[in-house]
């Protein structure tokens, strides 16, 4: 039961990663690309957590937490750069 659900969820999240990657490559403007990167890291967290459930190991939470932290900092830094032309004034 859970295995079937995991397979379906892996397929859906994989498709989501592909769609965000497409937007990252195509995105007409810089904010589109930042948004695509933001979506990509959130999707990666979902993939890691699903993988942790599948192999029944809780080693991956720290990795997911680190990705969440670093992704947020990266998004803020990129937006700040677009807004002010500088990251730390």
């Amino acid at each position: 039961m859970i295995d079937t659900a995991l397979t379906i969820a892996f397929t859906l999240v994989g498709l989501a990663v592909a769609l965000s990657f497409w937007r990252l490559l195509r995105g007409p403007d810089a904010p589109d690309r930042i948004l695509a990167l933001d979506t990509l890291y959130v999707n990666t967290i979902a993939l890691l957590v699903l993988f942790g459930i599948q192999i029944d190991s809780n080693l991956y939470f720290e990795a997911a937490l680190l990705i969440a932290l670093m992704g947020f900092v990266g998004t803020v830094a990129l937006c700040k750069y677009l807004l002010r032309g500088d990251i730390i004034e």
Binding site: A30, I45, A46, F61, A64, F72
Partner: protein
């Protein structure tokens, strides 16, 4: 029973994540594209993380790591969306919405 709840949460999480990215890929201007990932994807990842918390709590000890990640995501998603919208407004990206009427001064 628990198994059905877990399967439902996992499939709902995957579906919401997919819908968010579909919105990101399909919608027509940046301001509407901003809605998909910031709402649907956050909800989807929240569902997956809660499923993981329930799955790893079935033994002796409760598992709180996922709650931490969920809280962090739910706090940071609006902040980054706000910053991205500000950057887009600063760059004057094209929008499908009409310009608002200039406000009359009394």
């Amino acid at each position: 029973m628990l198994e059905y709840l877990l399967a439902f949460l996992i499939i709902a999480g995957g579906a919401f994540t997919f819908i968010g990215s579909l919105g990101l890929a399909r919608l027509r201007d940046f301001y509407s594209r901003l809605h998909g990932p910031t709402k649907a994807t956050t909800l989807g990842v929240g569902c997956v993380l809660i499923a993981s918390a329930v799955y790893f709590s079935r033994g002796e000890a409760a598992s709180f790591h996922e709650i931490l990640i969920t809280l962090f995501l739910f706090i940071t998603a609006p902040v980054s969306a706000h910053l991205m919208a500000k950057a887009a407004l600063h760059l004057k990206l094209a929008s499908l919405a009409e310009r608002p009427e200039p406000r009359e001064r009394d």
